[in-house]
């Protein structure tokens, strides 16, 4: 049962073949069996999940009208506030904090009766591409436990790939949903910026952060997308417009006559041969399905990484100033006569990890008087140029495509001491965040040289998220026919999953 898609689980619940309590318990059992090895979860809310599941079963028994995913379990990235449940963001500075409120995403999940199993591991405050920056230890890729599951949302992607949950929530600032999906053979979507509320998402870089759906199929991400999306007055940057019809797009998977633009600059040198081979193969399948493949150029994308590593740290240096040891979280050095300033300094020294400190200092520098124009100011101009590149490219194509990341999953520890090498993981995902458009990663197969999953990225214009779902569904169907079974069937069997 745990190997089904969320849509299949929902259908079994509707047909009365199982109950949400049984389904939830099956996933809790799976977590108990494999999570010692995978370490996808920072907190498992056994009691809360079972209570929520029991409540859905009662509603169903009464014949109440329920939402499409009602009763299906989900893993929640630990950056989203959930009332009464520990929320750490993978940081020591928030250890033990239980938010007194629900984020809007969590409120929407509860409204849809989606059962929250627990909180998943992540790079501290979502800063990283490997989940190695979590203060609570790394998560392991279910395909190969010595490798990274991507980051920052490596807990969510690993939970899906290890069949610990059929649905998960991620957040994507520079690729933190799409890159973990790519390296674990799962599906992840970063909706249009403003499409899903950021209220209660602990802020890293406010102009880039976006929560989104993760799952094992395109249709499951679409169902979850519609459950969490929509205008929210509590988030001033939330878009007040109807939610794109992504479920209909994922169900039709029709790409006949669609123009698909291959971004010339997001391929070639620096991309692993197996990544390029799977990308080319996917393009052929989409052409066979009736899409027209065109090439587009985005000359300013080569500056995206540099601009991102100024804009994101700048915003983070400001956002993380709230962790001041005064109102919540860790407090260190509060002895008689200690000043507030020394308590702040000591708390932030102990509470933040290496990468978070690195980015706070970089951001403080980029925003400081005398350097502002040269660094932060120039980066903002690059952001304009990247957005213009997208606008021009979307004149020639309905959606754009590229490999999601240059390589497959690397070994834990391999890049831990080389920040620049680590940052290069996000080279193909970052432009999407800079322009605020939608992006999806879905599995396109395994690289021949290492047998590890490769991701295919699809990008849609602002609030036209349905485009990437149509293309994603078409490619997924063509690949399934080619493979004869889902890609995850090829993953090593862990802990005796059926």
């Amino acid at each position: 049962m745990i190997r089904n898609s969320a849509a299949e689980m929902a259908a079994k619940l509707v047909a009365g073949e199982t109950t949400s309590v049984a389904l939830t318990q099956a996933h809790l059992d799976r977590i108990a069996a494999v999570d010692t090895d995978v370490h996808a979860f920072l907190y498992v809310d056994t009691e809360g999940a079972l209570a929520q599941a029991a409540a859905v079963d009662v509603k169903r028994a009464k014949g109440e009208k329920l939402s499409p995913l009602a009763g299906v379990p989900l893993a929640l990235k630990d950056v989203m506030a959930q009332k009464g449940v520990p929320t750490t963001c993978g940081s020591k500075i928030l250890e033990g904090w239980r938010p007194p409120y629900d984020s809007t995403v969590v409120a929407n999940l509860k409204k849809n009766d989606i059962v929250i199993l627990g909180k998943t591991n992540m790079d501290e405050f979502a800063m990283g591409s490997s989940t190695e920056n979590s203060a609570y230890g790394p998560t392991h890729n279910p395909w190969d436990l010595t490798r990274i599951p991507g980051g920052s949302g490596g807990g969510s992607s690993a939970a899906l790939a290890a069949f610990e949950a059929p649905l998960a929530i991620g957040t994507d600032t520079g690729g933190s949903i799409r890159q973990p999906a790519a390296v674990t053979g799962t599906v992840g979507v970063k909706p249009t910026y403003g499409g899903v509320s950021r209220f209660g998402l602990v802020a890293f870089s406010s102009s880039l952060d976006q929560a989104g759906p993760c799952a094992r199929t395109v249709l499951d991400t679409a169902l979850l997308h519609e459950a969490i999306a929509g205008h929210d007055p509590k988030d001033a940057t939330s878009i007040n417009a109807p939610v794109p019809q992504v479920v209909a797009a994922a169900k039709s998977g029709d790409v006949k006559g669609m123009k698909i633009g291959v971004v010339k600059e997001l391929n070639g040198d620096g991309y692993q041969p197996g990544v390029r081979a799977r990308f080319e193969e996917s393009l052929e399948l989409l052409a066979e399905a009736g899409a027209e493949i065109v090439e587009v150029s985005a000359p300013n994308f080569e500056y995206a990484l540099a601009a991102y590593y100024l804009i994101a740290p700048s915003e983070c240096s400001s956002n993380l100033a709230r962790f001041d040891a005064m109102r919540y979280g860790l407090r260190v050095g509060d002895i008689d006569g200690a000043s507030a300033e020394s308590v702040m300094n000591l708390t932030r020294e102990v509470g933040f990890g290496k990468e978070v400190k690195r980015r706070i200092i970089l951001g403080t520098y980029a925003l400081s008087s005398g350097y502002y124009d040269a660094y932060y100011g120039s980066a903002q101009k690059v952001r304009t140029l990247i957005t213009q590149d997208f606008t021009k490219a979307f004149e020639k194509a309905d959606v754009l495509v590229s490999p999601t990341c240059p390589t497959t999953a690397f070994k834990i520890g391999e890049k831990a001491n080389d920040p620049l090498a680590m940052y290069l993981n996000d080279i193909a995902t970052i432009p999407v965040n800079m322009a605020g458009i939608g992006g999806m990663s879905l599995p396109s197969g395994l690289a021949d040289e290492d047998g590890l999953p490769v991701g295919f990225q699809i990008m849609s214009p602002v609030m036209k998220d349905e485009g990437m779902y149509s293309v994603g569904a078409a490619l997924e169907a063509a690949l399934l026919t080619k493979w004869g079974a889902p890609l995850l069937d090829k993953a090593p069997i862990m802990g005796g999953a059926r």
């Binding site: 910026y193 940057t237 001041d324 970089l362 400081s368 120039s378 952001r383 602002v462």
Partner: protein, 98 residues
């Protein structure tokens, strides 16, 4: 080539309110030489005629009706406080000794 000395990093750490060990200061100043060279590329491309983008959405001020709605109770607001006293956050000394 851009670089930051150990003292520059110490000053920034002070501004960011992070106590740092000597080892951290030295390591960061070394790493910053490489990182700043990489990010300085942003200065190569955009001319004076390019407008900066601070945010992906063309939003102006977003208003709402000014009505009272339920919010956190004092107990809830204080629930994560490291220390509290008489329904208030208890914080270390902010002003210096007289």
């Amino acid at each position: 080539m851009s670089s930051l000395s150990r003292d520059d990093v110490a000053k920034l750490a002070g501004l960011a309110r992070i106590e740092m060990s000597e080892e951290e200061l030295v390591n960061l100043s070394q790493e910053f030489t490489v990182i700043l060279d990489a990010v300085a590329r942003v200065q190569e491309v955009a001319g004076a005629d390019v407008e900066p983008t601070s945010h992906p959405l063309p939003l102006r001020n977003v208003f709402r009706v000014d009505v009272v709605v339920p919010s956190l109770t004092p107990e809830e607001a204080l629930s994560g406080a490291p220390a509290q006293e008489e329904q208030r956050f208890r914080v270390p000394q902010i002003l210096g000794e007289e």
